[in-house]
Symmetry: C2
Subunit: 140 residues, 2 copies
Amino acid sequence: MTPQHLSKVYRGYIICLNAQDWKSLGRFVHHDVRHNGRQIGLSGYREMLENDFRQIPDLSFNIQLLISDPPYVSSRLLFDCTPTGEFLGLKIDGKQVSFTENVIYEFREAKIVEVWSVIDKPAIEAQLRFSINQQQDAAQ
Amino acid sequence: MTPQHLSKVYRGYIICLNAQDWKSLGRFVHHDVRHNGRQIGLSGYREMLENDFRQIPDLSFNIQLLISDPPYVSSRLLFDCTPTGEFLGLKIDGKQVSFTENVIYEFREAKIVEVWSVIDKPAIEAQLRFSINQQQDAAQ
């Protein structure tokens, strides 16, 4: 598969996520998929994503950078959303936050078989601190 | 530049970091380099790295995955080290921690001109919690 073809497959995967088209997820995600070292399989992967959308109803995946070197894809994803309760152990409670995720995927048979993801939690913490400081300033 | 050539340049950069060969840093890092959206320039980049090695004397960059799609490189770096005091706002105080960084680089004129880095802070937090739990168990 060429880098261009793999990029196209990956963009199809992101469209599938944003449409929450879970019936089509198996076209992009391998039955034996692993996520950050854990074997979760396609059903576990779907559960993880469904849970993400429950925690973050306005979740949307936006590709900032896409790097294709078959069988690997790396992307930088941008999120601008409002988690309703906790997210990554942080109490967000409906605040609007922006953050990024740098993620690497390995493909097998044109499907994602391994994912290594890191979310920029310190960026969210900084926004929550800023939000608290603003509230304190307003109360004074 | 081919993907293979760019990978070779990147591996040279990592050797330079691990050798703390700051005199050679300008061979790999562009004068106008930006890091996570901040224009820090070559001298700021060197200061950032020197500070990392002060906080983590046994710091060593290990490439787990390397993805090359000129002018971009993405890598997953593994760290297994003992920060002496604080790191990412966490009190490490000489504990041994393992964590990863997913990082994307843009090259210009065969030098790194932009870096987008995300470090897996939740992984470090989990290790610190585990360490505290172990101490509590030992004290009981």
